[in-house]
């Protein structure tokens, strides 16, 4: 039986995640934010929408690290880890996409015209297309994995594909959208990371929010990994 001290030593980051998220929800809604025309109160979405992409990127990075580890020593545990981190990363990516859709339909769409009139310009948005490509490549990762029966072959091919998918993230969501004209902010640098670009009061909430959401994603991923390992042990004694 684990003592409370042991529990705290191993599980403190789960508590930290929830505390940071509660802080994000309270401070994110109540703290003063810069007054920017067009954005108005929706600027608070920075604590939620942008954090989804940060969490996705970090989870995909952990996934590719585990894929490389698998290729180096061939232990199936790393394959399970790589897969589960990628899945949770995809979930966060989808949430980022969905929240982005809601946000842009209120800030990018021309309020004087019906919503569909703005669709053609919004659908051309390079950041949207890039993010869609990145997510589709990761969907293909899951399809590829599940289509191979042999366990070792499945693990090896999907680990190699994982590296390819991760490398493709960079041109599709980081480089190409910055080369093309875009409505999406953050084209001229890293607005979320640049200290001069984001207001100090927002930074107070934004960085804890990123950590909180990422830790929540890690928690879900570790649960999935532990469950999968248990399942595998029943199948393979």
């Amino acid at each position: 039986m684990a003592t409370p001290k042991d529990y705290m030593q191993k599980q403190w980051w789960k508590i930290l995640s929830i505390v940071l998220l509660i802080y994000t929800f309270i401070a994110g809604l109540l703290m003063p934010v810069p007054r920017i025309p067009q954005l108005q109160e929706t600027i608070r979405n920075l604590y939620f929408h942008v954090c989804m992409w940060f969490a996705m990127m970090i989870l995909f990075t952990i996934s590719v690290i585990n894929a490389v580890k698998y290729l180096r020593n061939g232990l199936l545990v790393f394959d399970i880890k790589a897969r589960q981190y990628a899945v949770v990363g995809i979930v966060f990516g989808l949430l980022g996409y969905l929240t982005g859709t809601i946000w842009m339909s209120y800030t990018w769409a021309d309020p004087n015209n019906p919503a569909y009139a703005s669709f053609s310009s919004i659908a051309r948005e390079p950041k949207l297309i890039g993010a869609a490509i990145a997510l589709l490549v990761y969907f293909a990762y899951l399809i590829l994995r599940d289509s191979i029966q042999d366990l070792d072959k499945k693990a090896r091919i999907s680990a190699v594909y994982n590296i390819f998918a991760y490398t493709l993230l960079f041109p599709s969501i980081w480089i190409l959208p910055r080369l093309l004209p875009s409505l999406h902010p953050g084209k001229e640098g890293n607005p979320a990371l640049n200290f001069n670009d984001i207001s100090p009061t927002m930074r107070l909430v934004f960085y804890p929010a990123v950590i909180g959401w990422t830790l929540l994603g890690l928690w879900i991923a570790t649960l999935k990994i532990r469950l999968k390992i248990l399942k595998e042990k029943i199948i393979l004694p």
């Binding site: 309270i26 809604l29 007054r35 108005q40 928690w219 879900i220 649960l223």
Partner: protein
Amino acid sequence: MKKIITSLFLFLLLLKIEAQQEVQMADEMNSNGKIYVVVAVMITILIGITLYLVRIDRKISKLEKNK
């Protein structure tokens, strides 16, 4: 001298006009307190999800011990 004072005055007037073009924010919602309702709802959802995750975590820990 008079000219300078006049231009300074005009400049200040211009600043004032610009400051008046304020951005519409949800000040009223914050002042009459209803925003706290939103915070309460979001916190409730977050805590609900947390408790659910904790339950799953405990169940998996139990399974890991029984194997």
